[in-house]
Amino acid sequence: MNARAPASYSVDFGLLLLLAVLVAALIFAGSSLRPYDSPELDPRPELLPVYLLLSLTRLGVTLAISVLLAIPTGYLAAKSAFARRLILPTLDIFQSVPIVGFFPVAVWGFVRLFGGSAIGVELAAVFLIFTSMFWNLAFGVYESLITVPEELRMAADQFGLRGSLRWAHLILPAVVPSLLYNSLVSWANGWFFLIASEIIAVGPARYTLPGLGSYLAQAVTAGHNDLTMLALAVLLATTVAMHLLLWGPLSTWAERFHLEETGDRPRRPRIARLLGRSRLVRSATLRIVTPAAQQALRVSSRVLDFLGRHASGSAVAFFGLAVPALAGYGGWRLYVLFAARPLSPELKGIPVDLLLSFLRVIVGVVVSAAVSVPLANWIVRRVRWRSAALAVIQILASIPATAFFPLVVILLTWGLGMNAGAVLLALTTMFWYVLFNVVGAGSAIPKETQEAAFAFGLRGRRYVWRVFLPAVLPSLVTGCITAWGAGWNALILCEYLEAGRRVHEVRGIGATLDRATYRSGDMQVVAASLASMVLLIIFVNRLFWDPLYQRVAARYKMEA
């Protein structure tokens, strides 16, 4: 590539120091952690870095697994029409279903499988976080593969790019931007779920995974405001640091994989240039990383090509056999659950619960949309502020909504109603999806369109109604659909809060579910509330959101 910067021993030294600190922290952590099934986490603040490290590891491992599985899934869906018909609806349903609600069932399974050992609880957490990270990644891979220009694919065919070469020069580069963008989204989702999944309770049993999430949750529950604020500060600092040290540089690096026709030379991230000056990194790259990556690519491309050739078969295996088998097993359990015992009286309240929660989610969607459109118009129009504003939004969005809980709890103690509190909490997850999408679409409004609008005197509110809103409408709907899905997840956590030894709750399906899960352990109520919620969501998606999106996209897509 470019001329190399001279090697520098200070970079080597810094790296070694960092490594030493990490090892020391892990040793310290290993000796001072309490066992997993102990009811409480050690609350000493000096353990916070260790908890943070553990949480980050959990998230990192899960993200790696999600990315590694998303690539073949998206690839298969893009490759074979038959696989596509099985994979896409499955992804669609899982993406829109409130997975938080399934936590107890999943945990119960994993913990039983591993006899309540630490590994079982860890696996349960990884699985739960995975369910929040995987779907959008797989969708992203599929979408970027089907949008590879036809001539580029043909060029790869014509010049004989097959097997690992095709993966290295065509498929992987084409999916990098979407994998990265979706990793950011997944990472934020992962935090949200991590905090929910590090403290796992099923009926009487309670497991605590040491981590930042459990620390935060415990501090909130116990009403330690100082510890809560401390943990929140660590979380915020981590989010900012992740942006500066990882996501930012990765985005810079990923510029070269964009399909745009003209533009500046792709940049090399500053941190990569710095690391490139270390002798250790250089020789490790040359001797270990590059050969290992090539070997891995060779092996995995062989596997993936095999899967691709037998795309229908493997899709049948995964989605045609595994999913129905699970569904059948689940159905049988349900039958046993409802037929073997008399029906719980609480079941009668479920329709009203569902309606109340539904109204809350709708209020959340409407508020998100109503605030996002003018705000996005304001951000987009100020070119000088735009990138700074986007960076701030990105950081705010990647703060897990669970982290806002303590703030809302403080508002609650000041007399805010729990009804408003639950909606407010749900909004902290829902709002960003809408704002993100609208700002993205707003920035893509052609300059000529804007100039034409101003030339004809469309300004202020009239500009928003006549130009901005129609231009962003498809993205606004996309954002609302995502927010609608996220809202249900959030409500499960928001309608029922334990804070400062007090329970704040408001009537709704989330509260009913939580009460059944954590207090009464009534599996009938758990199953019935989950099923009714899933059915309602799928029903509304099919009858309202899908047709709405089709119509809006057909009418308002920006095309020349």
Partner: protein, 259 residues
Amino acid sequence: MPASAPVSAESPAALLRLEGVEQFYGEKIRILGPIDLEVREGEFLSLVGPSGCGKSTLLRIVAGVLRPTAGRVLVGGRPLKGVNTRAAMVFQSFALFPWLTVVDNVAVGLEARALPLRERLKKAQKYIDLVGLSGYERAFPRELSRGMKQLVGLARALAVEPELLCMDEPFSALDVLTARTIRDLVLDLWKSPEVTTKSILLVTHSIEEAVAMSDRVVVLKANPGRIADEVDLRDLPRPRRPDLPAVRETVDRMYALLA
């Protein structure tokens, strides 16, 4: 080369032959064929025709990236299976890998042919120099103008040293002046001893372009794509400036054929 050679009674050896080639869209809709066509050794053959006549489809069948629904493609007398490794293709929208530098783009076909790195770079450099892009080896496609991008596409195709160069509307995304410069370069390279390419198959919708470059022009008509006519231009002297009376007359004759 045989650009202005006299017409001989027997045609030179066929580099490639299409026999009864047909292409269907779905089960019923025939978009192309049946077509019989020969690409002879050393000739510059153009396919012209209205849009939708399947000329690009035909080119893709020749390059082996598209399997015809019926009929067969013979390369050097043997039926073609898979990609035609004796051909290389230049694309209308360039189809460069945006994440690879110029030199890596040019070397991509050589990498697929498992040439060692050193030879790959040497050969890529040779063709980069031949198309006049020396100094741009480390640039990324997005930094280049459209004309330069197409030069990279040309170098990439020539670098695999094909017998047949397939060009799919290679000049239609370029401005008029750039197109003319690259057209002249292609003709020069075709005759140059440095380049192994024996024959060129050009798909274009521009009659002027076909007349300016070809030994032979095959005119296609649409719905389904069939061969309507064939014009031998070996007698038309080169270089063919567009204002020469003979060239103008030929162009007019071809317009009449297409009308």
